[in-house]
Amino acid sequence: MSLALRLARQQPAYRDPRARAKDFDEIDSGFTFEQARVEAERCVQCSKPACAIEGCPLGNAIPRWIDHVVQGRLRQAAWVLATTAPMPELCGKLCPHERLCESRCVLGQASKPVAIGALEAFVGRVAEERGWFAPAPSRMPSGLPVRFAGAADRTDQSDPTDRSDRRGHPERIRGASGHVAIIGSGPAGLAAADRLLALGHAVTMFERAPVAGGVPSYGIPSFKYAKSRVERLVERVRRKGAAIFCGIEVGRDVTVRELRKDFDAVLLAIGAPRGRLLDLPGCGLEGIYSATGFLVNGNVPAECIDEADRREIRRGRRCVVIGGGDTSADCVRTAVRLGFEEVRCLYRRSLEEITGRLADRGYAQEEGVVYQFLTSPTRFEGSGRVERVVCERMALGEPDGSGRARPVPIPGSEYVLEADAVVLSLGYDVDRKLLESARCQLGPDGLVVDDNLMTSRRGVFAAGDVVRGADLIVHAARDGRDAAMAIDRFLREG
């Protein structure tokens, strides 16, 4: 039997569920070096690696960098990874690998696939800690147009240089360098900034929230991915030369049209922030939260939350989370950590149709969460604040537009669940109002873009969830990277 089949798939050490449910720290510390080496040995080094060709949206050269790990050359592994991956630590930890690269690992046919995700997280973590991804900062000052001079005071950016200054700067790396405005500092915006800076352009980012990072900063709970790691990523991009201005909302403080005039190109990377709502009797009661509202206020210190978004989370004994996606797993586990003793997740279809990651659901169940399938709320009751959720049982009917079986209510199956808090985790949409005001063409999911990720407005590009609708970090990162390349071509060739 070959070595690859003899070795068992390595597992990082997980903390005991009872202990970890009491705090917001990460639940595992990732691979040790020896585990990483053993796991890397399991890679059979396919010549045409399906994991990379079909499985990885970024096209990471997976067998190449894994081979470096086998040889104990972590720095080289990190460099190979960095040629395609803008944020390997984040993707290594948060991608649904079992649906992406690992689903294409040929080893899966004979034993378990190589733990590509955990390996990437290991290399990414070591590299970020050592600063291996952070090259010498670009010598190009990136700054604000003069009209924002005041805004700089609200941020930690010390020396915003105005645009006329930069134009004459002698040390530009390439003749064609331009100045690009990126709106939104989530994975898509950060990936684009990273590449644009590497290609020799100046980058200025505008972020509505008080802290940069997008969903990984505000939505994804810190027990899944520590905030310090997001900060480190943002800091890397900042050190590379991006000027990041937080607390500026495009559409309110400045318009896309104005930015298009001030910058050589604009990238919209504002995500899909609108949580879907339920139009049911009683849904206006106090104690009913949107997933984002719940996650942000449950996870993030109040001073890092925009005043308009701050809400007190009502504590109690019972919490009901509605919806079965990835976000709902984050919500139930946050509820556990906020002290709710009885946390339920209601999903209107069955286990077969649920979209959220298996692993996350497993962690939630270990932490005491109860999943209730084929269950849907019909109304919320309470005096002022929510006290009960009235539910009904569902049966599965014919497939609907999404190809999944349509849930149909079973008449007379209503029953009541007590609840001190309810979280609606039903998915996200793009901010149509803002996008309409920007006069870019909109499709069913989000902005319409061409092959170069350019919107219907010349020189205005878009990347990430704002194009795809709520999606994945790795797709946002890929869009950001590709948009940067397209912007580079646009600036050089017009």
Binding site: S29, T32, Q45, S47, K48, T83, T84, V126, R195, L199
Partner: protein, 404 residues
């Protein structure tokens, strides 16, 4: 495997993604009056077994072309004739081309040369073996219009006279740059190169090493089909021997050297160039990875130059020979335990495990502790550290001669 069967189209659609920012350093190199697109070219083997393979190599960005060794007749290649050894090594008994000389002259050289011309890169042919054979083969190959001829000493015996005779014979029948490909089993390659230098224009170092033997213990049979099952070792395990041989030759002769043996990444190119090579050849890794290997390795090497502030490969070529070619030793005036940079340490515990002197104690995720009195300065932990956190301070880059 019939000579005339149409080969299956080879799908090379997967390529290791190249870095998005192209390297700034100049990749072209000039050797023997020829301009190579990069210093990375194929070494003779099945990776360049016919015209179609050569064309793929050219299209995939190799710095130049070099074709499989031809001789008066097709090689009686035993089967099996290649076996993987370890992760990136190989044992082979492929001899030379299994195609006839006529087929090469009628078809394969034309296809290969056309691809080289289209890509604007030089084409080197490889011929073997004895003086008589070379006198017959070389003029016909030269007439195809190749840019240089390599001849292999692999099957010529281990006497200086025999090798010099073949070089002389070749010189007398062709008017092209001549490259001698040296085999490590010959012995002292530095001495051989010095003796050969008047008769050739360049050297290729090295061919595969052997003979070697690997046994399939389940069947008590050899893994290869040759007599006794003997084969020749190539790939990663060969590299230190190849680097030593290149250095040995480069410090004795002035003529250019093509370094071959276990090259699989950009850093290997830099190592060979520092040891005195002007070009590097790849065979085994090209078999394992495909024809895209040449460009990948060249780009990695050029990125290394960028990171180290060098403009071209000439900036590193021979750097090691100049400093250590006269037998200088690295300065170790003061015996000292390795220094640990705890900011770099990743807590992998490797140093603690490999230490045979119980001097290093390591726990996962923690910085190890070193008991200096026990340390024998063996150095293994320094080279085994994946993060470069351990180093020797007294070897801070000066040789005994430089210090004096």
């Amino acid at each position: 495997m019939s000579d005339h069967a149409d080969p299956l189209p080879k799908d090379t659609s997967w390529r290791v993604p190249l870095p998005v920012t192209p390297p700034q350093a100049r990749q072209e190199v000039e050797v023997l009056g020829l301009t190579f697109r990069s210093p990375v070219i194929p070494a003779a083997g099945p990776n360049v077994r016919d015209g179609a393979a050569l064309a793929r190599v050219a299209e995939n960005g190799a710095g130049g072309l070099l074709a499989k060794t031809v001789s008066v007749r097709a090689a009686p290649v035993p089967r099996p004739n290649m076996a993987q050894f370890g992760r990136a090594g190989m044992l082979n008994t492929e001899l030379w081309t299994e195609l006839s000389l006529d087929q090469w002259l009628d078809r394969e050289y034309d296809v290969g040369l056309a691809a080289a011309r289209a890509a604007g890169i030089p084409f080197i042919a490889s011929v073997g073996y004895t003086a008589d054979e070379l006198e017959l083969v070389a003029p016909k190959v030269a007439a195809k219009g190749v840019d240089a001829l390599e001849f292999s000493i692999h099957y010529v015996g281990t006497s200086f006279d025999a090798v010099v005779d073949t070089a002389r014979a070749l010189r007398s029948v062709v008017d092209l740059p001549i490259i001698a490909k040296l085999s490590p089993h010959f012995g002292d390659l530095g001495e051989l190169a010095a003796v050969l230098e008047p008769h050739v224009d360049a050297f290729t170092c090295i061919n595969s090493f052997g003979p070697t033997l690997a046994i399939d213990i389940e069947r008590a049979e050899p893994v290869l089909g040759s007599r006794y099952g003997y084969g020749w070792l190539s790939g990663e395990p060969l590299r230190p021997l190849a680097v030593r041989s290149v250095f040995e030759v480069a410090r004795r002769v002035k003529k250019p050297v093509i370094g071959v043996g276990g090259v699989s990444r950009g850093e290997d190119v830099i190592e060979f160039l520092m040891a005195g090579a002007s070009l590097v050849g790849i065979c085994t890794q090209a078999i394992y990875e495909g024809p895209q290997v040449y460009e990948r390795v060249a780009v990695e090497a050029a990125h290394w130059l960028d990171r180290h502030g060098r403009q071209s490969f000439a900036d590193v070529q021979g750097a090691y020979v100049r400093r250590f070619g006269q037998g200088q030793r690295v300065l170790t005036e003061k015996e000292e335990a390795p220094r640990l940079d705890s900011a770099l340490c990743i807590g992998c515990t490797r140093c603690g495990v490999v230490c045979q002197y119980d001097a290093m104690h390591a726990e996962p995720w923690k910085t190890p502790t070193l008991v200096e009195e026990r340390c024998f300065q063996c150095g293994l932990c320094v080279s085994a550290c994946p993060a470069g956190a351990l180093s020797f301070s007294p070897r801070a880059g000066r040789t005994v001669a430089e210090a004096a």
